[in-house]
Amino acid sequence: EAGVTQSPTHLIKTRGQQATLRCSPISGHTSVYWYQQALGLGLQFLLWYDEGEERNRGNFPPRFSGRQFPNYSSELNVNALELEDSALYLCASSLVLGQGLRPQHFGDGTRLSIL
């Protein structure tokens, strides 16, 4: 069974540009989560999509947005990039929400560097 896949592995941008990160969940998983992990820090929750709908978002400005496609893959878009957006962006997927949130399975992330 293929795991969660993210692309690209690395992305280098300059301030003010826009970045698009992509995620394909494990087959059968309908929920996709996005996290930001700055160097040396824990995971900060960004967004949660399930069945194509945004279910929850973390404390990030509106220039962080995304969407989930009918095949459950997802995109994270970051507009007007700032230096502090440099981080590892992790995508996770889980089975449909049931009695409590299901464990999340992570991809290896996209390393976004802002110059």
Binding site: Y33, G42, F45, N56, A92, G100, Q104, D108
Partner: protein, 111 residues
């Protein structure tokens, strides 16, 4: 806001030693997960604990969920260099629609 505090933040030990990592909160979680993350990779799920007081063992790793489902511990026996990594705990709260992650414990096991 739910917070998960992990301690210690950093831990450096010699091969063969035992260690315990703690994950504490003032909030109740429906379940709690432990992950290990190695450099350049995403977190890998180690275990999920659901029932208060539950104990799960995974080879040399022992996970315990507190009776009140507010805290958890991870105990490693006879640590090996392959155990080196960032250990993250995450509490699930369906009402909030998300999991809350601790800041992690960075473990280094020296040969």
């Amino acid at each position: 806001t739910q917070l998960l505090e992990q301690s210690p933040q950093f831990l450096s030990i010699q091969e063969g030693e035992n260690l315990t990592v703690y994950c504490n909160s003032s909030s109740v979680f429906s379940s709690l997960q432990w992950y290990r993350q190695e450099p350049g990779e995403g977190p890998v799920l180690l275990v999920t604990v659901v029932t208060g007081g539950e104990v799960k063992k995974l080879k040399r790793l022992t996970f315990q969920f507190g009776d009140a489902r507010k805290d958890s511990s991870l105990h490693i026996t006879a640590a090996q260099p392959g155990d080196t990594g960032l250990y993250l705990c995450a509490g699930a709260n369906p009402n909030a629609g998300k999991s809350t992650f601790g800041d992690g414990t960075t473990l280094t096991v020296k040969p």
